[in-house]
Amino acid sequence: MSNEKERNLDYCLKCSTCHTQCPVVKSHLPFPGPKQMGPELERLRLARGNKETLEIDEALNYCTNCKRCDLACPHGVKPSFYNLKNKGKLQNKFLIRFRDWILAHNVWWSKMAGRVPALANLALRLSLTKRAMGMVGIADRDFPIYRKHPIKISKAVRDKKALYYAGCYASYNEPQIIQAAVNILESCGYQVELAPVACCGTPMVSNGLWDETARLAGKNTDIFLKYIEQGYKIVTTCPSCGLALKEEYEQIIPGEKSKILKANVWELFELLEEEDNLPFEPAEKLADKAYYHVPCHLKAQGIGIPAANLLKDLAVDELVVDDNYCCGISGTYGFKKEKYPIAMDIGKPLFDDIKKSRATLVISDCGTCKLQIVHGTGIEVKHPAEILARYLKKAQ
């Protein structure tokens, strides 16, 4: 009770606004929704000494952790916090736990695959691999392609220092995002270093590994704090990693350290908004019409869509910006066999909207949103950093 977050169940006015914003409720009626799974059931869990789980808690498996409920609440309740915390207490069947454990530790498999990308990509395409994955409950869908790419970073010492935290997806699947972000930061006058941190823990906590995430979050926070003490700003390009550092760590490991971290994390384009002179110059437009899909976790950071104006000014003639839809994949969620149809159903309105817009390019900050959109529409998806790096002034 001494934990401030624990008390926010008292703020729930039962208005049900969160319920209307939950993408899972729309696609999967048996899901009781964020109001009930969160603050409402929390009262009943407390009434059971917070020890035994409720029968209905099994439905927590269907929460995608998209955070739309947190944003929707007019009174500051964070239903997703209760969902994450209580997922950790679920007693799922062994096979489900095993499958979720595999998906939660995506960083390990990525590290291995990242050493031998060609072999890993080939193996992931084999029908034998797919069969084996199907047997443990992993959906039959394309996996991200692994790529290896050396990153060029200037060694010059500068006053402005940025610690760039790329996260798993950019590190193992699209290293060109890392190079683009580094180039943009260096053009803005930053001395850049890559964060010696692998996974932020989001896939673990959304798969119910609360305690393991807490240990990882503690370890990561200590690393970040060392850099912060030396004057580094922490910069992210992955919306989920950014949100973990800005918000989830504070819930998982409440205290002074996570507060300091939170105050020193910037999304790349959020940071650029504070720069006086931006290092961009006009060049040939990349597309006539592009569709910006705002990832749920970027929306949840509450920083608006800082890349949108730059993209409009420099890269495309017409930019359709939409933050209404969730793509449905929600990290590892859409890779689970029983959740795959829900993930696709949640994403369908987005896919339809993209197709209807006749845009030839989709822009999105999130790696798994990208996988889902390509899967659902067949249209190319790029990270805004990747696009905007093309417009950096050549003279520098």
Partner: protein
């Protein structure tokens, strides 16, 4: 109904319904009359604590002994009504520790098991407690639902052939020579008056016992003693929490289902219907409570209410906290020569069964009945079993009340209010205080019971107004905002002020 019974029981609280069941189990033809719904007096307006007796061991050992005996029996016979949370007594560094020894000695004499736990251990299990704990003991306190208890007793009696008339007021007694031989009744809804002949009357009307006795020309010296209670949005501790000090204001917290009931105060009043808490009383209570729960003032309150203790002092003895919690059977024949009536006064909900036994033991010989009391041997059952979690069609989400429970609550009832339904199901007892379930329940009964729109509207309006009454003293913080949302929905969206249904009866 037949207009002749052997015994008329007046008062539908725990004692009255307990007496009805005891009579019925002994094969005595009986009728219970209650001016409102069951458990709408003190039995529904207390902290919901099934005493272990530990609270009374120092000053009132006799009450304490009765409490611990009954505590064990009620847990056995009424598991539907009791949550065996266990209780704890906490002494802080600011308390007089010499009381602890007296208390321990009293517990031992009363036969109440106490188990000492280290402050560290209790804090780990109950993190909301003050870190200033010096001594902590576990006792067999429990939480009891007074509404369900009265309803379960009544249900058991009805199954044995007893009758229950709620919303029926006693307006007089029929006497022949100096003997009561009938009771005049008035139906509160229809206004219709009726006479029921009987051999005996048991007055178990609690805080109203003086008023009822007066109708028969008798004087009973009841000193109604008002106690204020508040309800918090969620559980603060998982055990009943008592302050280990001489009984005073604001020293009992009872975890009750999903909420916590906290109280009480003690103040003499002249009106048994004085059941509203004032803001000042609530604030004073909260000040007291922070000695045990430092963060108490930050926890959301959802309601404040008051109950009236029917304390009885035969010869104008002590009042308030000093008054005994013992009960008395007043034999009016012995006092004034009036035959055919006894009054059961004083006591506590925890000892209701014992009071019923004593009353029926007194009356049965006059009726030529020598059967023994067996109320401690047979189980009683809640008329509306709790939702076990599989049915997810909730009409009230805060308290998980299902359509099925709403059906069960009005079974065999010609007329009902949503408050009657609430007492059996907990509909509207959660944080939103009826905001989101009242319109659903009104509509549901309109559909399933064929209520006219006007009648359904009246259900709705009465319930919203009743819920509002309990919010008035605590309108700050989150609950003030909840009330604004309620206003927005019922006054703004549904235009409740201009409903044309007040003139319609259900």
């Amino acid at each position: 109904m037949t207009n002749k019974v052997q015994v008329v029981v007046i008062g539908g609280g725990a004692t009255g319904t307990g007496i009805l069941r005891d009579l019925a189990l002994r094969g005595i033809d009986c009728l219970l009359v209650e001016q409102n719904d069951l458990a709408t007096g003190t039995s529904g307006r207390f902290h919901g604590l099934l005493h272990s007796g530990a609270r009374y061991v120092v000053k009132d050992l006799h009450s304490a002994v009765e409490c611990i005996q009954e505590n064990k029996i009620i847990k056995e016979i009424a598991p539907d009504c009791v949550e065996d949370t266990g209780g704890m007594f906490i002494a802080t560094k600011n308390d007089d520790l010499s009381y602890v020894d007296k208390w321990l000695e009293g517990c031992q004499r009363a036969g109440i098991n106490t188990q000492e736990v280290s402050p560290r251990e209790i804090l780990r299990e109950e993190p909301a407690l003050t870190p200033d704990i010096v001594k902590a003991y576990l006792v067999p306190d429990a939480a009891v639902d007074g509404f369900t208890l009265a309803a379960a007793n009544a249900l058991a009696a009805v199954k044995l052939g007893a009758q229950v008339k709620t919303y029926t007021k006693v307006i007089g007694f029929k006497k022949e020579k100096n003997k009561i031989c009938g009771v005049y009744l008035k139906d509160k809804y229809t206004g219709q008056e009726d006479l029921v002949s009987c051999d005996y009357v048991i007055n178990a009307s609690g805080a109203w016992a003086g008023q009822i006795a007066a109708l028969a020309g008798q004087v009973i010296n009841i000193t109604p003693d008002k106690g204020v209670l508040v309800i918090f949005n969620h559980r603060i501790t998982n055990r009943v929490l008592n302050h280990l000090r001489p009984p005073g204001d604001g020293d009992i917290f009872v975890p009750h289902g999903s909420v916590t009931v906290f109280g009480t105060t003690s103040k003499m009043t002249d009106n048994p219907e004085d059941n509203e808490a004032s803001r000042e009383e609530v604030l004073a209570l909260l000040d007291e409570g922070t000695h045990l729960i430092p963060e108490l003032k930050d926890i959301r309150l959802i309601r404040a209410f008051a109950g009236v203790r029917p304390l009885y002092q035969p010869d104008g003895g002590e009042v308030g906290r000093e008054a005994t919690r013992d009960f008395s059977i007043i034999d009016h024949q012995a006092l004034t020569g009036l035959e055919g009536m006894i009054s059961v006064v004083g006591g506590k909900l925890t000892t209701y069964r014992l009071m019923a036994k004593a009353a029926v033991d007194k009356v049965a010989p006059f009726l030529g009945n020598d059967k023994p009391c067996i109320t401690h041997k047979e189980r009683i059952y809640a008329p509306v079993p709790k939702n076990t979690g599989k049915d997810a069609h909730y009409l009230c989400q805060c308290e998980r009340v299902t359509k099925k429970m709403l059906d069960q609550a009005v079974q065999n009832k010609e007329r009902f209010s949503l408050s009657d339904v609430r007492r059996l199901t907990r509909l509207g007892m959660g944080p939103c205080q009826g905001t989101f379930c009242t319109f659903r329940a009104g509509a549901y009964y309109h559909e399933t019971r064929g209520l006219s729109p006007e009648a359904a509207n009246k259900l709705l309006k009465d319930h919203i107004e009743e819920r509002w009454k309990g919010s008035k003293a605590i309108l700050w913080g989150q609950q003030a905002q909840e009330a604004q949302l309620t206003r927005g929905i019922y006054l703004g969206l549904l235009n409740l002020e201009r409903l044309d249904s007040d003139s319609h009866e259900i």
